[in-house]
């Protein structure tokens, strides 16, 4: 079962200067806030660093002199610093995150809005999950870099430099001795931590494996039990469970080696300072207070170094994310309004294809010179084998794609010149797979006309023969449908989506295999509804039920991207061509099934 898949996407990417600068531009609207935040961050760091200085003052000047009033001054200053730190830390957290979350908000909005503009070609063959991750995780990674990453690292560098500065001012000799451990700490932070990170990556992979196995076992538990594979599943689970456990213990071991190395390094650093410091104090070169302050400062070396090395990693992760996010933002929508599009308030419904060529992928032609004319109010049926290009033809009418060559016109105007909103607002499509959004049944129907009144909604549902079963629900139109409409049968979903199409009162109605995956009973309801609706609209019907097709004003037979026959049912039957053959095959099958 599901296992041993990698995480799917590489987590890290080389540094890309162009992307980095582009990322920085997201900070721009918040420049003022960024500056204020930096000032606060530095102020807080300074207050923190001032503590040991005060103690040094106390030890060296106040205590030997027994200066009571100075002691109080130091006490009060320390209290003041504490209050400054408290307020500063509050402001720092709030401001930093406000910037970060605002950027996340902006980026998500920008991405989502951009995706709304992209053409269908973008979505073809891109799993929804992949696009979703861009808006969720990748955006988070980018923010990580900008706020906690970038701003934090500035804070770290400032803190580290200030600490070193204070130490040098206090005693440059002792400071130089203290700095001996800095390179070692850097080494630990960069090299050893990398090693630690690697071992945790393995843990993540093993955990993903285990979870995938679990998830699949739970959703497939009925199958497992029906095929009496419980024992085998338990064994397999034991295996993934153990693998994960072992990898985690192993990673913990590696991590555990890491902490002591920091601790021992710091201890050695302390000892150097103690040794040289004690010697200097006895020689009168430095004071006891300075020694105490030094010990305090050395303890603060590690944090900024650790988080600086983290920053490098954050950058690499963010680079991979920025590549993907910018990749989407830089995808131009193919289908755009021309500079002065024609608005058509009232489409009559004349549709013409003039020698249309089309391909999804280069050099794999799907339509090869399709021409036909449809008068307003006509019903056109499109038949032909799978992959002949039926759906492609109807996808070109609302201009989901642009033709490669030729022209599609509506009321004698090229669809490319028509304002897209105008065009699509006057059309409706019912697909084979009805899509239901989470929300109430009412919301789902209203989707066809967002400002529809309650009456209009119910009328549409009645026409679609959906009113009956909706009323039978306990909450009627207020029934909440779960994600993807899981509480409704396919048939019910299709009737609701048909009501949605009816509500939008389209001039052109397109039914793409709308009755293909529903049961016989619903199909009758739907068929009945369709007949009511076709009246007075131009409609295109792709179906395999003969009864629907037979009534069409005209039938287009498509094969291999071309119209091979055209006419009404009788004409085509008399032609004894492809349509006749398709019918004959179906009839033979039917006879066979009936047993005659």
């Amino acid at each position: 079962m599901a296992r041993n898949f990698d995480q799917g996407e590489n987590f890290q990417q080389e540094f890309n200067k162009r992307h980095f600068i582009r990322l920085l531009s997201y900070l721009k609207p918040y420049t003022k806030m960024v500056v204020i935040t930096l000032v606060i961050i530095i102020a807080v760091s300074m207050s923190e660093l001032a503590g040991p200085v005060l103690i040094q003052q106390a030890i060296d000047n106040v205590l030997p002199e027994k200066d009571m009033s100075m002691l109080h001054v130091i006490g009060l200053t320390y209290l003041g610093l504490r209050i400054v730190m408290m307020i500063g830390a509050y402001l720092r957290t709030v401001l930093l995150n406000k910037i970060g979350q605002s950027i996340i908000y902006d980026l998500r909005k920008q991405l989502f809005d951009h995706i709304q503009r992209l053409s269908l070609r973008f979505f073809d063959g891109r799993p929804a999950g992949k696009i979703m991750v861009r808006i969720t995780n990748d955006v988070d990674n980018l923010n990580e870099l900008l706020t906690s990453g970038l701003i934090q690292v500035i804070n770290d560098v400032v803190t580290l430099l200030m600490t070193m500065g204070i130490m040098i001012i206090m005693s440059w000799r002792l400071a130089l001795f203290s700095f001996i451990i800095l390179p070692v700490l850097f080494y630990i932070a960069v090299v050893l931590r990398n090693y630690v990170r690697e071992s945790w990556r393995d843990v993540r992979k093993k955990r993903a494996n285990m979870n995938a196995f679990l998830q699949e076992s739970i959703s497939g538990m009925r199958t497992i039990q029906a095929f009496t594979q419980e024992g085998e599943s338990e064994e397999e689970f034991e295996e993934v469970n153990s693998e994960f456990t072992e990898s985690q213990i192993n990673a913990t071991k590696v991590s555990l080696l890491f902490r002591p190395s920091v601790e021992i390094t710091s201890a050695i650093g302390n000892c150097i300072v103690f040794a040289y410091g004690a010697y200097s104090v006895i020689n009168g070169q430095i004071s006891v207070g300075i020694l105490v302050a030094f010990i305090n400062y050395i303890g603060r070396f590690w944090e900024p170094i650790r988080s600086m090395s983290n920053f490098y990693n954050t950058v690499l992760v963010a680079m991979a994310s920025s590549e993907r996010v910018f990749g989407i933002l830089d995808t131009d929508p193919e289908i755009l309004n021309i500079s002065e599009p024609i608005t058509m308030e009232d489409i009559k419904g004349k549709v013409d294809f003039k020698n249309v060529f089309f391909e999804y992928d280069k050099d794999t032609p799907v339509l090869q010179g399709v021409s036909f004319n449809v008068n307003p109010g006509d019903t056109i049926a499109i038949v032909g084998p799978t992959g002949a290009g039926k759906s492609t033809i109807i996808n070109l009418i609302p201009r989901f794609y642009d033709v490669k060559d030729g022209e599609v016109t509506i009321d004698d105007i090229d669809v490319k010149d028509i304002e897209i909103d105008c065009l699509r607002n006057q059309m409706s499509i019912v697909l084979q797979d009805p899509l239901i959004f989470s929300g109430t049944v009412r919301d789902n129907i209203r989707y066809g006309k967002l400002d529809a009144t309650e009456e209009e909604i119910i009328t549409a549902a009645k026409i679609a023969n959906a009113h009956q079963f909706i009323s039978e629900f306990e909450n009627g139109y207020d029934t909440e449908v779960q994600e993807r409409g899981s509480r409704l049968s396919v048939g019910e979903r299709q009737l609701i989506s048909f009501a949605r199409a009816i509500l939008s009162d389209p001039k052109i109605l397109i039914l793409d295999e709308a009755t293909s995956s529903i049961d016989t009973k619903t199909e009758q309801l739907m068929q009945d509804a369709i007949e009511k609706v076709l009246e007075g609209r131009t409609s295109f019907v792709i179906a395999h039920r003969l009864s629907t097709i037979r009534k069409a004003d005209r039938i287009l037979v498509i094969d291999d991207g071309r119209i091979v026959e055209e006419g009404n049912h009788e004409e085509l039957m008399n032609l004894k061509g492809m349509y006749y053959e398709l019918n004959k095959v179906q009839y033979a099958r039917l006879l066979d099934a009936v047993g005659e």
């Binding site: 599901a2 213990i249 994600e483």
Partner: protein
């Protein structure tokens, strides 16, 4: 308390290791607490008294402490990880073993996502409890008591002063822990809502474009996006308020020590070294307080997580082998229902239902959604127990047959097919792990799956499912049929198994199955007449009752529901005949 006890009972196999972990932790802590003493000696004796000869000893001691701590930290960390991971591995194992035994009725109600979160995140929070919870609590109490005694001996007034702010620290921390949890929960929930809205938008892109509702979608998303922002900022504000406050209270203790301690030094009550020692110890007084405040909340959460896990583990397995269950070598395939009544909840799905199918017969069942067709076959495999009546296989009540033996010889193709993310070959062999390649291929051929499988680049080794290629509904059904055939079952059940297969292929499958159906009881459930008309005997079900039965021809003559359905499904026949008569026929 009961839950905590039960959680800790998982320590049992590791008691020796646990004891060692406690010992290591104690040594680790004591070593750490010796450092302030050394600092006092350094300041008071080495520096002020100029006893430079003590310096090498102090340095040696400090490095020794660091090395010793390193060793014991490793030992303690490794042991507690080993124990906790071992314990939760056991927990996960027992959950999984329990899950595979829980009956269908459990999965009718359970939601995968929720179960998953119990097994992954709830078990994970137990891991923290087992690895760190107890040890940390011990460490916090131990450190606090140890330091308190040491400090009281140095200067009791100073100690009391340092303790003064700690109750505030404790209360603030407790309050924080209780406030921040729900705030984070809200963020997670909002994230789920937002993710869902993105997913719907993307999967529904055709509908969005067709109805031209991009603006509406943008508004909808903006609402969720903004709400996420607000909830996030809410949590951050809580953190931003409490964290500095907690630090402030801690800092206040240190301040009190420096201030009042300095005063004491001036009065010559304590030495500078003692003050430095005191000052270093203060943090060992503060962190246990903060730790304990978080632990209060942490223990509570672990108990909640533990309860959720134990709820799964304690779900009774109502459907299992009875004590007198017997093994059956091979089921022959006689099926008998005697006055069976069955319901999932309130309404009876089967009412006083009786029928008998002889081994080797080929039965069709037809009826609308909700007529009880699928329940009927679920009962044969004993996925559910009926409320009253008796179901017999080969004249034995199925409750007296070992479940494994019963199900081993039944092959089902379910209505909604579940295939695993694995290769096609392993999916077909799922029913029979000992199947040879020939058996797999021959089953696939009968199911009309061989040809499309061979057209794939990797043939039978093609991975399908989440990480592999997607199959059409018809292809999935054909693989599921092959999977059932490979089991070589005595009873073969096809529950609407060819609904997504086109008519021609269905016909071919029926033809090829004839040979394998010979020696088996076969039950075909369908709503298409074409699927059942070739069976030996047909039952028509409606609202849990048999309303008509007979052969295809008998039922047609009967002029009842079956005939109506037949006419409806074959009305095109007349249409065809009409125009073929009109000159189309050759």
């Amino acid at each position: 308390m009961k839950t905590i006890k039960r959680i800790f009972s998982y320590y049992r196999p590791y008691l020796m290791l646990l004891f060692s972990a406690f010992v290591s932790l104690t040594i680790l802590t004591v070593l750490g607490l010796m450092r302030p003493k050394l600092i006092r000696v350094l300041i008071d004796d080495v520096i002020y008294e100029s006893q430079i000869n003590l310096l090498p000893w102090i340095i040696a001691a400090l490095i020794g402490i660091a090395v010793g701590r390193g060793i014991f930290r490793f030992v303690q960390g490794y042991l507690s990880e080993r124990i906790a991971m071992g314990a939760i591995k056991d927990i996960r194992k027992s959950i999984f073993s329990h899950l595979v035994k829980l009956p269908y009725s459990y999965y009718d109600k359970a939601r995968t996502g929720e179960l998953m979160s119990r097994i992954s995140s709830d078990v994970h929070s137990l891991k923290h409890l087992l690895a760190d919870g107890l040890l940390e609590l011990y460490d916090a109490i131990f450190t606090f008591s140890f330091v308190l005694v040491v400090l009281l001996r140095i200067n009791w007034q100073l100690t009391l002063l340092a303790l003064a702010t700690l109750p505030f620290l404790f209360l603030t921390t407790v309050k924080f822990a209780y406030k921040i949890r729900p705030a984070y929960m809200q963020i997670r929930e909002q994230m789920a809502v937002m993710t869902n809205s993105i997913q719907e938008n993307i999967t529904g892109v055709r509908v969005v474009k067709a109805f031209n509702t991009q603006e509406h979608e943008k508004e909808k998303f903006d609402k969720e996006n903004l709400s996420y922002f607000t909830k996030m900022m809410n949590a951050i504000t809580i953190r931003a308020t409490y964290m500095p406050l907690m630090q402030f209270f801690g800092g206040l203790s240190a301040l009190a020590v420096v201030w009042f301690g300095g005063y004491q030094v001036i009065l010559d009550n304590i030495t500078v070294g003692e003050l430095a020692e005191f000052y270093s110890y203060i943090f060992s007084l503060i962190w246990p307080i903060r730790r304990m405040a978080f632990l209060v909340n942490f223990f509570e959460r672990s108990v909640a997580a533990g309860n959720r896990i134990f709820e799964v583990l304690d779900t009774e397995i109502e459907l299992k082998d009875s004590d007198q269950a017997v093994s059956v070598e091979r089921i022959k395939g006689n099926i008998e229902f005697c006055n069976v009544t069955f319901s999932y909840g309130e309404n009876d799905v089967l009412k006083d239902f009786s029928l008998r199918i002889d081994a080797g017969h080929n039965i069709g069942i037809i009826g609308e959604t909700g007529s009880g067709k699928s329940s009927f076959i679920s009962l044969i495999s004993r996925f559910y127990d009926c409320q009253s009546g008796e179901i017999k296989i080969d004249d034995t009540d199925i409750k007296d047959i070992k479940l494994e033996d019963l199900r081993r010889d039944i092959g089902i193709v379910h209505q909604d097919i579940f295939l695993f993310s694995d290769t096609i070959k392993n999916n077909i062999a799922f029913g029979n792990t000992e199947a040879t390649d020939e058996q797999i291929i021959s089953a696939a051929k009968i199911a009309q799956a061989h040809d499309f499988i061979m057209e794939m680049e990797k043939g039978y080794d093609t991975a399908i499912g989440e990480r592999g290629i997607g199959l059409s509904g018809g292809q999935k059904q054909r693989i599921a049929i092959a999977r059932a055939l490979v089991r070589n079952p005595s009873i073969l059940v096809l529950d609407d198994a060819t609904s997504s297969v086109d008519m021609e292929t269905e016909h071919q499958i029926q033809k090829d199955m004839e040979s394998v159906m010979k020696n088996r009881t076969t039950i075909v459930i369908a709503h298409r007449i074409a699927s059942v008309k070739n069976t030996d005997y047909i039952y028509v079900l409606d609202h849990g009752e048999i309303i008509e039965q007979g052969t295809h021809q008998e039922l047609l003559n009967n002029n009842g529901y079956y005939k109506q359905t037949f006419d409806e499904q074959y009305k095109e026949k007349d249409m065809f005949e009409a125009f073929l008569d009109a000159g189309g026929a050759e």
